[in-house]
């Protein structure tokens, strides 16, 4: 049984309140996300929503199409109905193999995959920096895209030292690099890579996975077996739909134009197997209920939790569920009705979640519906509550009665004003309701400059090429007209195209492209300026050709520690683009 209130109380009562760590971070992300989304096409959110809606309306059709596409791509398609079945299947695929590199996957959290495999004495290594940290802590992630966001650098340093990493200081750089090194070591010898999936494309059988650190790239290219595990609702119609989703996902999640790597993986390389494991675990039932089916539009960007006052005050661990914040308060009781019936009450219904959700999920309507369901279902158990509301509705149907009632309530509350037990976490008293006539109150305690409104920046660069130059430089590419480095010293790649608004370069290559890329430290990319498109949603033609596609937006990076960006995780760090 979940108990949000008890957990939240503990966290808030603790000397390091969650809000102290979270508030400044999430406020910036929400603000920057809004700015970043404003740079996408005006209808970007709508397109993403349409792409997701198409899925919900054609789910089974898309799955049968996908089965065929997977055959063509030599990807083994699996569909499981329950968490247990999914775990058992994955364990069967793994067989006798031991060393498993796992990257971030919410569905893996949902089905309890890591624990399941560890119980079978498998060596499961969390390769995402944030996940690695929360794995040591042992309480699970507190955010869907930033697992360790509830921890500050001091606590992270302690945890890493506890795990034997011996980090000399607690700068996000040192901490991130320490985890990176141990992850790289693990990848030297690994049997299985497990990843999530952000979308699976029915028409082509490609799996779209977004990431920043390069650990997914390593998990896709190094181990002889790759298993992608995801929910059945993640299938989408075609590449266009996937791009429409990617285009709002990174801005909403982390206020980035796109993540460093957006992979579109298909056929495995010669000595590799690729498995795609879909998990239902209650989703088809949710789909049947018109009031809740749209929760399956969710692209797990985490914007709703960043914007949620309750999440920020209580932190993600208080929800006790792999899904936290507003999405968690709705999805958890739908997936596990027995365990999370109190989560719909963990919302002040301020409506900000619905406002920021990039795919337009009416989260707060759903919270209200869930409260109504729980009131109806628990009518017997919550007898006092029922009686309260029945008498309330009786009283407020008779104006005399209700006025008298209000008068009485006020008197009683006033009478008990000093008797009510005030606690440090709830010191409230019935406030005075008579007006004060203290004219002094109108005088401010100090004078203050009015805050100047932020000046509008960015004159839109004129051409696509100019726009690309600006954005690509921003994400960390070096733009050159001529090769300045000796080309023989670095990996030279030819880009299929580029995306101006995000500063990304696009590749479509046959394997072992990704492996080569991840092993290089210096890369020079040749780009034909005629191939630049404006937005990610315009890039469909660029990624259509057969092969694994990669949209690269700067070098790998992480912001898993206090949301401070640290560059230089896995893969190449010096990347030049020569535009001709």
């Amino acid at each position: 049984m979940s108990n949000f209130r008890t957990r939240a109380k503990l966290k808030i009562g603790h000397q390091s309140k969650p809000a102290a760590t979270l508030k400044p971070i999430v406020r910036n992300v929400v603000r920057d996300s809004r700015l970043m989304l404003a740079e996408r096409p005006a209808n970007a959110k709508l397109r993403a929503q349409e792409a997701r809606k198409y899925t919900l309306n054609h789910l089974e059709e898309l799955h049968s199409q996908l089965r065929e596409s997977c055959k063509k791509n030599e990807i083994t398609y699996h569909r499981t109905t329950s968490s247990e079945e999914a775990c058992a299947l994955i364990s069967e695929i793994i067989g006798q193999r031991q060393r498993i590199a796992k990257s971030k996957s919410m569905v893996a959290e949902e089905i309890g995959l890591t624990n399941y495999l560890r119980k079978q004495n498998k060596e499961v290594f969390e390769t995402d920096i944030g996940e690695y940290i929360v794995d040591i802590e042992g309480q699970g992630p507190s955010h869907v895209t930033a697992p360790a966001i509830h921890l500050d650098r001091h606590r992270i340093q302690n945890l890493l030292n506890q795990a034997g990493l011996n980090v000399p200081d607690n700068s996000p750089l040192t901490l991130s690099h320490a985890v990176r090194n141990t992850v790289s070591d693990f990848f030297q010898n690994v049997d299985v890579g497990i990843t999530g999936a952000n979308a699976v494309i029915a028409s082509s059988g490609r799996i779209m996975i977004v990431e920043n650190e390069g650990n997914v790239a390593l998990g896709l290219s190094n181990p002889p077996i790759h298993i992608a595990v995801t929910g059945i609702e993640k299938v989408v119609q075609n590449e266009q739909a996937a791009l429409d989703i990617a285009q709002v996902l990174a801005p909403s999640a982390t206020a980035q134009p796109l993540t460093a790597y957006t992979h579109f993986v298909d056929t495995p390389s010669k000595n590799q197997e690729r498995h795609l494991v879909f998990v239902d675990a209650g989703r088809t039932d949710i789909l049947k209920d018109d009031r809740y089916r749209e929760i399956l539009l969710c692209i797990r960007c985490g914007a709703c939790m960043n914007a949620c006052p309750v999440y920020t005050a209580a932190n993600g661990l208080s929800y006790g569920s792999p899904y936290m914040g507003p999405i968690g308060a709705v999805l958890s009781p739908l997936l596990w009705p027995e365990s999370f019936s109190d989560l719909p009450d963990a919302s002040s219904l301020c409506g900000r979640c619905s406002e920021v959700c990039p795919v337009g999920i009416p989260l707060h309507d759903m919270l209200l519906n869930l409260r109504a369901d729980s009131a109806a279902k628990q009518a017997g158990k919550k007898l006092t509550e029922k009686i309260v509301w029945l008498s309330w509705s009786f009283i407020f149907s008779k104006p005399r009665l209700s006025q008298g009632f209000a008068w009485l309530t006020k008197k009683i509350l006033r009478l008990f004003k000093n008797l009510r037990k005030q606690t440090p976490l709830d010191p409230r008293r019935m406030p005075r309701t008579k007006r004060s006539r203290d004219a002094e109150m109108l005088i401010p305690l100090f004078e203050k400059e009015s805050i100047p409104s932020k000046k509008q920046t960015s004159n839109q660069p004129s051409s696509l090429l100019e726009q690309f130059r600006v954005q690509a430089t921003e994400v960390g590419f070096k733009i050159e007209n001529e090769a300045t480095t000796h080309l023989e010293k670095c990996l030279v790649l030819k880009a299929t195209g580029a995306i101006a608004a995000t500063g990304s370069v696009v590749f479509v290559e046959k394997d072992p492209f990704l492996k080569k890329l991840m092993e290089a430290s210096d890369v020079t990319i040749m780009l034909d300026k005629e191939t630049i498109v404006e937005f990610p949603s315009d890039a469909e033609n660029l990624i259509r050709a057969n092969g694994n596609a990669l949209i690269m937006t700067g070098a790998s990076r992480t912001a898993d520690i206090e949301k401070k960006i640290v560059r230089g995780i896995h893969g190449p760090q010096n990347i030049s683009v020569i535009v001709k």
Binding site: I12, D345, C350, S402
Partner: protein
């Protein structure tokens, strides 16, 4: 809600009459929001149905608290289904938030508002996201000569009240209010004005419990104090 602070009702009346409206007070009925937010829809229905019935004879119904208006306009249409629901939805369009109504009143310019002093402004979530009247309310406040308005740096954030929420999750609710109160203190203003009485009551209760000095005024009270006749 307004029953708790009857002086706000007389303030609203005074402003509406100054605008030339003839006003009847409808007391003791409720929009149903408390039950609705707690998941008790039948109870919400029966209460709001009575409220709609007694207000039927009136051309316009002015509601003195933002979240009540929001319940009428966006909540009530959701709890009555079918053809009856349609006519009820139509009827809810006759309901206006007090500040919104005053702001759009053709005779507003004829009134003279003046009050020297500084206040902080709290934007309620219902007013902002469900009714979308923030800019109207700000504009209305700017009608008052001599008044300095200090807006909060995170105006879009909730005060933590949330009706049933504050009862079921008091600790989180207070924690959120404390963040808000901290920001109010930082503006230097000692008076907080908002359209929503429930936000104000929650913030004031927390402030008093914490020993902070704060006064909370509804927009009706502010206009009443500022109106020169």
């Amino acid at each position: 809600m307004a029953i708790l602070r009857p002086e706000d009702i007389s303030s609203s009346r005074r402003i509406l009459e100054a605008l030339g409206e003839s006003v009847d007070e409808i007391k003791g009925y409720c929009c149903g929001q408390p039950a609705y937010n707690s998941g008790y829809r039948k109870e919400a229905q029966s209460v709001s149905r009575k409220m709609l019935r007694v207000t039927r004879p009136y051309e316009t119904v002015v509601v003195p608290s933002g979240s009540c208006t929001s319940m009428v306009r966006t909540g009530i249409p959701k709890i009555f289904a079918g053809p009856r629901g349609l006519s009820i939805t139509e009827r809810t369009k006759a309901f206006f938030d007090f500040g919104e109504f005053v702001h759009s009143h053709p005779r507003l310019r004829e009134l003279n508002f003046e009050l020297t002093g500084t206040i902080a402004y709290h934007d309620s979530c219902h007013g902002r996201r469900e009714l979308g009247i923030t800019s109207k309310l700000i504009d209305l406040l700017e009608h008052i000569n001599g008044l300095k308005l200090r807006r909060l740096p995170h105006e879009e954030e909730c005060c933590g009240f949330g009706g049933a929420f504050t009862v079921k999750q008091p600790e989180v609710s207070v924690e959120i209010a404390r963040t808000k109160l901290g920001e109010i203190t930082e503006t230097g203003a000692q008076i907080l004005v908002s359209e929503d009485l429930s936000c104000l009551t929650h913030l004031q209760a927390t402030a008093e419990g914490d020993g902070r000095k704060l006064e909370t005024w509804t927009i009706a009270e502010l206009l009443d104090r500022a109106l020169n006749e």
